[in-house]
């Protein structure tokens, strides 16, 4: 097993903005078999005093992971990821995933992330996920079979 020689990308990770619609939520539910009524059922939402279907929190884990992995490239592998949820995100809301490099060393590259809900003009309305961090390590050129 020989180590990869990928260099750390220059520049910060790309900011990603996306609207999470009910169709996206259904796709996620189908892919994960998570059919919790919190994500689609008006009667259940009313009972729980919620105004709209709630986006599965694990979606944000996937978004942060993708942001880190896309920035680093295939020569790097996500080794750690952690995040705290601050506010619920509801169907149809637009979010922005932000990130910056905080450390680069022999043991990997550490990124700090946050996810915020934004309005139509891109202005931050509230924080969805913060703090959040990821650690990427070099992927060996060959893995054990």
């Amino acid at each position: 097993m020989s180590p990869a020689t990928s260099t750390v990308p220059s520049g910060p990770p790309a900011v990603r903005e996306l609207t999470i619609g009910i169709a996206d939520m259904i796709a996620y539910a189908g892919a994960t078999w998570d059919w919790h009524r919190l994500h689609y059922d008006p009667a259940y939402l009313s009972e729980k005093r919620l105004a709209a279907p709630v986006v599965d929190g694990q979606v944000f884990g996937a978004l942060v992971a993708a942001q880190a992995q896309d920035w680093a490239g295939p020569g790097w592998r996500l080794a750690e990821l952690e995040f705290t949820f601050r506010n619920l995100v509801f169907a149809g809301e637009r979010v922005r995933c932000e990130a910056e490099v905080v450390r680069s060393g022999d043991d990997g590259v550490e990124l700090r992330h946050r996810v915020v809900v934004i309005d139509a003009d891109g202005v931050e309305e509230r924080v969805a996920v913060e703090p959040a961090r990821s650690l990427l390590v070099l992927q060996p050129r060959r893995c054990a079979p």
Partner: protein, 166 residues
């Protein structure tokens, strides 16, 4: 939420294990990647993955922590067919506090997953609005059929009171 502290103390140390009935399969990786808009070819293109040191496509990192596909559990009254601790507290709703993952090695399509869950901590706290809440911290350890440790997921779930804050 009366008697919550006693309820919480009884939860710590609870443990449950789920083993998938079959290998994960590459299709699950593709479905998940598409659902979250992740077009990374490591998850869908075996040739590309091999070029970058993997023996096959790899799972999007957090997919394995979505236990529902392979836990083979019946759907509960809330429509959920995955791992829960079946904690029933009237007049509450459940929200996620956060997750902390350690990815020990990539997950491949031929991995057959076992998820071992354990409650590490459960305690009553007062929320920002003054309401009482139960915070439950669990850890899931995901291994494959060879006993190799794949991922660890430490998760915080919060049971928030629907009652008006005092």
């Amino acid at each position: 939420m009366s008697g919550l502290a006693e309820h919480a103390a009884a939860l710590v140390g609870r443990r449950t294990v789920y083993t998938a009935p079959e290998e994960f399969g590459a299709a699950a990786f593709r479905y998940y990647a598409r659902a979250v808009g992740d077009h990374n070819r490591l998850y869908t293109d075996a040739g590309y993955a091999r070029t970058h040191g993997y023996r096959d496509v790899v799972a999007p990192p957090t997919l394995v922590c979505e236990t529902n596909q392979y836990a083979d559990l019946p759907m509960d009254a809330e429509g959920y067919a995955g791992h829960t601790w079946r904690i029933e507290i009237p007049d509450t709703r459940t929200v996620r506090g956060g997750n902390s993952y350690v990815f020990h090695r990539p997950v491949h399509p031929d991995d057959r997953i076992t998820a071992t869950w354990e409650i590490l901590d459960a305690r009553v706290k007062t929320g920002r609005q003054g309401g009482e809440m139960l915070v439950v911290t669990s850890r899931a350890t995901y291994t494959n059929q060879a006993g190799e440790r794949l991922v660890e997921n430490t998760e915080t779930i919060i049971f928030v009171s629907l009652e008006a804050p005092r």
